[in-house]
């Protein structure tokens, strides 16, 4: 079956082939059966906003396909991108559990398939099933872990160059884990968005890229980046 946005749709979680790779989705069959009963599967186009920071929680969103940009915004219009969430991640979890407003804003960056579960249904589901509840704890632990990494990078690493280098290495290694050739990656974000990820200005990102190319550490054709000297990049990333 095809969604309106030209993407194949997975009908049921039970026969989702990628389940084992999807952190949250890898639950015992019985638990999954219950989940199946309360989820709503929806397809979203690129640029759809799932929820906004400060909204009261309506429920949780499990990413099946596509990626989602999580960001926080200051009243003054400043934006910071916290994370790019991938399939298998659950969004809106802590807000849904605590009943407090969503912490971040979630916006799809390509066509996505996403399972939604209403807050009440989800809470009932949790209280009835230890396995599910434990999965949620794991998932929240993961979120906390990521947030800690973010804090570390924002608070301890100094130069913008350092943070950009770390980001590139992280992306590159994520490629490696996915079987793609490591050391080669395609940028899916604009310089502006990259700047928002590492907490600097767009111009600085541009200049840093220019510098890395001049120093033969990076090479680019279109939106494809090749890391020519990963050693040097690592040096920059861990320069205390």
């Amino acid at each position: 079956m095809l969604s309106p946005y030209g993407m194949e749709i997975v009908e049921s979680c039970l026969d989702c082939k990628l389940r084992a790779d999807h952190l949250f989705c890898d639950m015992p069959p019985a638990t999954l059966q219950n989940f199946e009963g309360i989820k709503f599967s929806t397809a979203y186009p690129q640029g759809a906003v799932l929820f906004v920071e400060g909204q009261m929680p309506r429920g949780i969103f499990v990413i099946c396909k596509g990626s989602v940009k999580l960001s926080i915004n200051s009243p003054g219009g400043r934006t910071m991108i916290v994370k790019l969430a991938e399939p298998g991640e659950v969004l809106g979890l802590s807000a849904t559990i605590s009943g407090k407003p969503y912490e971040v804003t979630a916006e799809t960056i390509d066509p996505c398939q996403i399972n939604f579960v209403k807050r009440d249904d989800f809470l009932r589901f949790l209280k009835e099933d230890v396995d599910a509840c434990f999965k949620v704890a794991e998932q929240l632990g993961e979120k906390y872990h990521n947030a800690c990494k973010e804090v570390r990078s924002l608070g301890l690493s100094h130069s913008a160059a350092e943070k950009l280098a770390s980001l590139l290495l992280e992306w590159s290694s994520k490629n490696g884990a996915a079987g793609k050739p490591e050391g080669r990656l395609t940028l899916r974000l604009t310089h502006e968005e990259i700047a928002q990820m590492i907490g600097t200005s767009r111009e600085t990102v541009t200049r840093l890229f220019a510098d890395l190319k001049k120093r033969q550490i990076l090479q680019s054709k279109g939106s494809t980046l090749v890391i020519r000297n990963s050693g040097a990049l690592r040096d920059i990333a861990s320069h205390n």
Copy 2:
């Protein structure tokens, strides 16, 4: 009963008078009974290190009395204080659940009573009890929430003045919640440590305090601070 460090000790969680105020400890009696069986209650002096960032998780620590400083460190010797944890909070939770290294370093800043539970015991405890598991999820949500606040303050608010003002307001309001007179607070941290909380240098903190006093916004006698103009302080804190 008195501990070696001149602090009264609570024998059992079941008749702990502060239980209702302690987020994690407020569990159903049956659950609490189980917890009672696996916990080890210990008294620590000031300056004790519970665990260090990067260590493999031995288990969780529930604070009964006293406060604990959570920090992260860069290989280059830089330190950032992430949080001051209070009674009712659980430390080492996400590491214990995921089996990955502790995210932060935990050090007592005054004499503490703390319940320790070994990793295996704790995991078994969780898998047997949905209520406990749900409490853990709540607790992790809380941790995630705090981390998000940290990210927001590090990534969006720019000037050091802004962050210091926010910190003071937060402390002051925490006093208010505890019944103490709001707008009056005693500093328990040195300028150096405050600097580590807001990610700046000690000298900057000193200068900022001097400036706030000169502008009649703050007033200090010894380690006691009085906020004379909370409006102005709020303005500084939310200056976009």
